[in-house]
Amino acid sequence: MAWETVIGLEIHSQLSTKSKIFSGASTAFGAEPNTQACAVDLGLPGVLPVLNKEAVIMALRFGLAVNAKINQHSIFARKNYFYPDLPKGYQISQFEIPIVGQGEIEISIEDGGTKMIGITRAHLEEDAGKSIHDMYEDFTAIDLNRAGTPLLEIVSEPDMSNAKEAVAYAKKIHALVQYIGICDGNMQEGSFRCDANVSIRKKGAKELGTRTELKNINSFKFLEKAINLEVVRQQDTLEDGEEVVQETRLYDDMKNETRSMRSKEEANDYRYFPDPDLLPVDIDDELLIQIKSALPELPTEKKSRYIGEFGLSSYDAENLTSQKAFADFFESMLYEEAEAKLSANWVMGELSAALNKNQMNIKDSPISAKELSGLVKRITDETISGKIAKDVFKAMWEGQGSADDVIESQGLKQMTDITAIESIIDKVIASNSTQVEQYRSGNKKLLGFFVGQVMKETQGKANPKQVNQLLNEKLS
């Protein structure tokens, strides 16, 4: 039977405010347990929340970046449930009126085209603390440092039809929140977390199938794997004549499986109601204009600019802009007056490959943007060929100095002395008379052979363009 998949994502993006959303305690990661939880975070009797304006501004930045409807009057609600790492017995969140309403974002899909993914809403809420179950044998330990950390929960429409699209969307949001400086995007530390709602239905059906919610996904790779696993599981279930149960499922990356966590029947009735300790959040037009004008260039805008201004391909422009750090690196190279297209190729090509191979972040690259520009400039001014440049890059990566240092010390400078090249060409022609005859009688393909011989003689230092030109002249 033909099935189609429907996916929606809920992304929890930790906002990079200095202090918590409702208290003055620090949000820094990795402190000693319970040292960054003040009276408010501990939920002591009598304490009250006070909204951190910075978190509101960050939510608005996001809303404006995805062209969303901003609710200029939004309210905080209490989501009631008992858990030891939830100190107040309720989480302050937004329910009926979130600060960010309907918006959208464009993703690139596999066939090279694009697709609009709807954003249902994005709301502000506080994070809970952490329960640590494996520290003591008979007890669970609670660390409340994270309690009260601001989160922006971004809920998508069920607009994605396969795992790859879901990953593309998640990556797009991941890039965006970093672009606009509201989240550090660190998935290991849990600053960016995805839950996926997955359902399948018969191809062409209008009604949505019963969905399951996949939790505990902390990388894009796992997101793809978890969704694919779940789709197969749901297909098997339905094809066996059984029904998919609405439930929350946990993804286990060690066992590469999803398993049931709790069913809908076991789900809490959260008894949402407006938090009487907090006033509604009212946003005036002036603030919105101010925030909008302070937004940086967004990935989509950047992409079109790269295509229009530098003639980059859509593919290259997409890749370069998908991570802010790469785009920043690229733009730093332009600032050094390196040629754009060549720079783009080097960032996405050699540099990206070397970083991947060494599992390094671009911020920790041993070759700086300025240094890579130095290399690119030597290609542009024909000091070295692209091929030699790869060797220079390797040497630079190993810390042997700047492009110019490497070219100088290893004598890699391209031959520009025409008479020297000419004499080598003459020598090559003289010692390959058979091929010369074949060429002259019409086998033009042999030009490559002659170029190769010349390059071999010059140890690659001859300018290939020049060699081509001279060979053409001398062989005709």
Partner: protein, 480 residues
């Protein structure tokens, strides 16, 4: 000394007629000899050290009006290093690591805290019989209740165990015990006094205020209590006037509205007589009295008993035995820990309200209860707004009866009806006051005055003028 008002004590301290240490010792001795059960905790050592400090401030001449004045603090306010139980077993082991804003402010004035007063558990009750620490006795008749929930504070002031006391009022918890104990109580406009550090019962209704011997004292104390607090988002950033400044304004031409709904069937005849008599007194002082209508008054009790339980069911979730407070012995697992800590830690009435609130907020019931109650609340506020376009102050009874006997009211609904005249004020967020207006069978009767938003000055002025004409507020229980 204990017969002096705060205003008189302040003069006495300034004139060195007595020291704060002498005054404090005097009150501590009175508390020690009292059998009213008005205090949960007496902070003798702290009081004496604060008194010594106050005396040194007085000697140096950098004292405020309230420096050195002993007071009793309702046990609902967090006090750093001191047990803060809110009358509940679940907080019996709780020593607050921080000061409520109000505690901090009173300390900063150089006042002397004698102790923490008894109250209905977590401020839920109208008789002070719901306290884990036992009921408080009414100083006018020890077989009777002092009212609640600020019963300990009211009894302490009525018996002059303290110069004044703090209270909180969610549905009448300052005004009703003030009425039943024959003293003056003021519930300010919602947002006037910080709620930070005040253990929350129903956040949108709770408001702290002074319980005093007179309107003049209430003005002096409110000066120290009121003001914006950046730790409380619902406190309002509005200038605090000097509440003593206009106490002596003439009330000639004052327009008083008498809501006909407040003189309904349930009102005790004697209480009605006292109230009408006191209204005549105002007329004789030049006030103009007219009948008004608050047509939605009948909905106050049901509305309150949805809104308050909904909020408290959530507010009290933090009392879970996990981080502080009472925890059951040997919990089997997490669920058992929650279940038994809370079942054993909370009293009957608190559990009842948690159940009501949890039910009313549940999926499928929210619209029918919570939302409907919010609509009714809005209508009740609108009633007041309309009436305040015509009158300056609304007057009526505080409580339908005088103090009733301990154990006399057994069912909770009858107990809820004791607050019928006070609940609307909290639902609307208005300021309200209770002042002694007379007696019925040797038991005090309080007159309720309700003002428009932020009109505490008017209420205090009107009350003070009444107290200049009458002496109900200086009557004392026998042997006081």
């Amino acid at each position: 000394m204990h017969k002096f008002s705060v205003a008189e004590l302040s003069k006495g301290l300034k004139n060195k007629d007595f020291s704060s240490v002498e005054l404090t010792k005097h009150y501590l001795r009175r508390i020690d000899r009292s059998d009213l059960n008005a205090f949960i905790t007496v902070t003798e050592d702290l009081a004496l050290s604060q008194a010594r400090e106050a005396d040194s401030r007085l000697a140096k001449g950098n004292a405020n009006v309230l420096t050195g004045i002993p007071y009793a603090h309702k046990d609902i306010f967090c006090t750093k290093g001191i047990k803060t139980s809110a009358g509940s077993k679940i907080l019996d082991p709780f020593i607050s690591p921080y000061d409520a804003t109000l505690s901090y402010k009173l300390n900063a004035e150089g006042m002397v805290m004698l102790g923490k007063t008894n109250m209905d558990e977590l401020a839920m009750g109208s008789s002070n019989e719901n306290s884990y620490y036992g009921p408080v006795k009414n100083p006018w008749d020890k077989k009777r209740v002092p009212g609640g929930s600020s019963g300990g504070s009211a009894a302490a002031v009525a018996a002059r165990l303290s110069a004044f006391a703090t209270g909180t009022d969610t549905g009448g918890s300052i005004r009703q015990p003030a009425s039943l104990c024959g003293i003056t109580g003021l519930k300010p406009t919602y947002g006037r006094v910080s709620r930070y550090g005040m253990i929350a019962y129903a956040s949108s209704l709770d408001q702290a205020g002074p319980i005093t011997q007179s309107a003049e004292d209430a003005a002096l104390v409110l000066n120290a209590m009121a003001g914006f607090d950046d730790k409380d988002s619902t406190s309002v950033n509005k200038d605090v006037p000097d509440y003593t400044e206009n106490l002596n304004n003439s009330i000639k031409g004052l327009k008083i509205g008498i809501p006909k709904e407040y003189f309904s069937d349930g009102l005790d005849d004697d209480v009605a007589k006292v109230i009408l008599q006191s209204i005549k007194e105002f007329e004789s002082m030049g006030a103009i009295v007219e009948e008004v209508s608050l047509p939605n008054s009948a909905y106050a009790v049901p509305t309150y008993y949805i809104v308050a339980p909904c909020e408290c069911s959530s507010n009290l979730s933090r009392l879970d035995g996990v981080r502080y407070g009472y925890r059951c012995d040997d919990p089997k697992d997490l669920n058992d820990l929650y279940l038994r800590s809370r079942s054993e830690g909370f009293g009957e009435e608190v559990k009842r309200r948690i159940m009501i609130g949890t039910y009313a907020l549940s999926a499928g019931y929210y619209d029918a209860y919570y939302l409907k109650a919010q609509k009714a609340r809005h209508l009740i506020s609108e009633d007041f707004k309309k009436v305040f376009q015509r009158v300056d102050v609304i007057m009526g009874p505080v409580s339908p009866t005088t103090a009733f006997e301990l154990d006399a009211i057994k069912d909770s609904v009858s107990m809820y009806m004791a607050d019928i005249y006070t609940l609307s004020v909290n639902l609307a967020g208005l300021p309200g006051m209770s002042i002694p207006a007379g007696f019925s069978k040797n038991l005090p009767v309080g007159l309720q005055m309700i003002g428009n938003y932020w009109s505490e000055e008017v209420l205090l002025n009107v009350a003070h003028q009444f107290q200049r004409q009458t002496d109900w507020h200086v009557h004392l229980p026998e042997n006081t």
